[in-house]
Subunit: 470 residues, 2 copies
């Protein structure tokens, strides 16, 4: 067993032997040990540098994943599982002494069936590749998030990714029809059924969706597809109050039903900061308190475009909204979406920063943001405090610019501490390392005990993403 | 510990003492022991008589459920959990020596919030009560199935019930926001969050959805509501071939998108049998090979009713369908639905019968039914063999009239045996006792081993619905 605290250097002869064993399993290019190559596997999208992994195993098949895990299980060797490394909670960056298991070579679309509406893809396939493959056949894989070009389906499943269209399509969980995963000891569980209805025994795939690689490694997924609508309408609405924002959401939900597929809220604090920081064109001449970015799927575009315009016109006429833009082209739609989607770019430019991803009932959200803003006033000393989120899901994002990275913990305490009793410390980003100590705000002691006992039961040697989540 | 093979008679002094303990926990009316009262708890909707339970515990609160289970756990006493007893797989009928735990007194709606779109209900509440409470506020709880007046939310969750609107809203799993459940040892897990996005740690509610009461007892659920559409359109379409049926589904999905909320297929074998057996009015003068019962949610009724009519008109004109009726009133809609929903009534009248609920990819379904019909020919000797189902989900129901109940096993072998490699032995009814021996057709040995190990881990004394599912 290698020394788990040895950092990136392979100093023990035993460790060398273990790596030789894995190299033999994976063949040429299957195991990376060159320190220069390992850097890429040492950090995620938070940019925080963790240590290098001992080595990176890059299996090309489920059987190779199983062989690597069986090997590590036998040797009690801890493994960190890596997809696209776009996480924001430190769940996939190595701890000292860990072997990285990257799914990057286990990629590709295996099957796409338009008539039944499913595809089967390997875990290391990026979300964008999956989306494009579906679109190429007139279908849509409905999961969508800014990291689409880099994040992988395996990571999306392991973290139960959310994104922009949850109010219409749900989280990743609701888009997974079947799954193949490998347990810590190398046991392969293949359940790649493609029908929507299958109640034959426990639905084991749920064990691997949203458990962040702590109970098994996702290797393939059967995904649910929907017909791509003939057209999408994007609109940006400016509003005077949070109440108006909530009322607009309720109105659109009632009138547009499931064709409303995104309702992204932005506080002025976010909107101004992203326009200035990323030098984006100002869509409205005046400033407003709130903004909603809306996407509607048009099934019958000629008629429904008029209908949405009509609704927005009435909302403006009655004073429930202050201004509105309906994108007239795909380019204009992309420009409006950029205001929302370049949040990550803004965050990078404002460093040091801290990001929070939380959820709560809608009727608590306005006062939560206002009270938090007051409470963190002295900590920020005038630096940006940006609120935005997927309003329809109760999901709030907070981006805060700090004087020093050392202030992040104090900010965490202010945000998560204020959530006790009604909110969740993670809406869609997961727990990883950075929210682990706050899990008790959202989960009861009894729940956390059951999570720990499941982990202990399914991974008794604690080799899969040890120390993460719980 | 009571003798588990003692049948319904409480013969051991020890058992008497245990019951006294439970009676003390539950108070007046909380424990039924009178043999006359126990009959009602001895059978489900299959009508097959099982033995009486030793007694029926009827807790009124989560704390009382926890106390009963802690008691039974301490005494290694097996418990069968009962909701509305509308199951069809023998999952909730007592085995000799079991205590029945009925949730019938733990009922009622605790909370209904229109703006956030959720309600919190107790497990023993019937589905109809939940639906009506939502409708009373202009909202819809989208789960819908013929047993709605009797089945309970706890049972719906425990069996991951499906029903008529799965193509639009998914199974029960996708309508559950939060859950409260009690483990075998009496530990209460309360996770009644009401937001759509919560990735803070393992989603423990998945352990209790669709596991048929073998891992815990559901006591309360936070349910997702959708706005009730202003109007629903019901249509019945007659078709000449299975290919036309599949093409119609694809066409409607593409044109109507998520507003298509039901697509129920009926083979002529079912259609004729249900009309004759239940003496229903004949909707078409001619006979056809297939029928599709369609429900569309109209968001903008004036425009969309025309649109659906137009689509059906074109389908008829091109010869893709033979005839079609659009219901002109709620009464007519109810009459059309009755053809599909009185399947259970028909089944009762044709006894002895056997019912199968399976799923498979759509492109296998036609030949599956045809080949099966040939293979069971000698077994049926001219008796009805009725095929129908929720086509959009790959869910097929088969109702077969038998010469003798003894032939059911041979029929099971024909149906389930033919599914190996591509289908599921249970689409929506669960496994219970009747499909347990066939689980291996759909699940691998590795999967079944993990299910067993989870059961052993979470219920080490095997007191919850012992012997069911796995």
């Amino acid at each position: 067993m290698p020394d788990r605290n040895s950092g990136s250097a392979i100093d023990a002869a035993g460790a060398g032997l273990l790596l030789t064993g894995i190299e033999r399993l994976l063949g040429d290019g299957g195991l990376l040990t060159d320190p220069g190559l390992l850097d890429r596997y040492s950090r995620d999208w938070t940019g925080k540098s963790a240590c290098r992994p001992v080595a990176v195993a890059r299996p090309r098949s489920t059987a190779e994943v199983a062989a690597v895990l069986a090997h590590c299980h036998a040797e009690h060797w801890p493994v960190v599982i890596q997809g696209g490394l776009t996480g924001l909670v430190g769940g996939s960056t190595p701890h000292p002494g860990e072997l990285a298991l990257s799914l990057e070579r286990l990629s590709g679309v295996e099957e796409l069936d338009v008539s039944s509406g499913h595809m089967i893809v390997r875990a290391g396939t990026t979300l964008a590749v999956v989306q494009d493959a579906a679109l190429g056949q007139g279908m849509s894989f409905a999961l969508d998030l800014p990291a689409r070009g880099t994040c992988t389906i395996g990571g999306n499943v392991a973290t139960n990714a959310g994104g922009n269209r949850v109010i219409r399509y749900g989280m990743t969980r609701s888009l997974v029809l079947g799954l193949e995963a490998v347990l810590a000891d190398g046991t392969v569980l293949t359940s790649l059924g493609t029908v929507m209805k299958d109640n034959a025994g426990y639905d084991l795939k749920q064990l691997f969706i949203g458990t962040e690689g702590t109970l098994g490694v996702v290797t393939r997924a059967a995904l649910r597809l929907h017909p791509e609508p003939p057209e999408r309408l994007t609109a940006l609405v400016a509003l005077a109050s949070f109440g108006d924002l909530v009322a607009l959401l309720a109105t659109l939900r009632r009138i547009l039903g499931p064709t409303l597929c995104a309702f992204e809220a932005m506080w002025d604090s976010y909107f101004e900061c992203v326009l200035v920081t990323n030098q984006l064109a100002r869509p409205f001449s005046a400033r407003h308190a709130f903004y909603a970015l809306i996407e509607v799927e048009l099934l019958d575009p000629a008629h429904e475009r008029d209908r949405v315009e009509n609704v927005l016109f009435q909302v403006l006429e009655r004073g429930w909204a202050r201004d509105a833009i309906i994108a007239a082209s795909l380019e204009e739609s992309a420009r409006l979406w950029q205001i929302r989607e370049s949040a990550g770019e803004m965050l990078g430019k404002l460093a040091p920063t801290v990001a929070h991803d939380i959820s709560m009932p809608l009727d608590r959200m306005e006062s939560f943001v206002e009270e938090l803003r007051v409470r963190c006033d002295s900590l920020l000393a005038g630096r940006p405090f940006c609120a935005f989120g997927h309003l329809g899901d109760g999901n709030l994002h907070l981006f805060t610019a700090l004087r020093s990275p050392d202030d992040a913990e104090a900010m965490d305490a202010l945000v998560y501490g204020a959530l006790a009793g009604f909110g969740s410390v993670s809406a869609e980003h997961g727990v990883g390392m950075s929210k682990k100590k706050w899990l008790g705000v959202t989960r009861t002691a009894a729940e956390i005990a059951v999570m720990r006992s499941m982990k202990q039961h399914l991974d008794p040697r604690g080799i899969l993403n040890p120390g993460r989540v719980i």
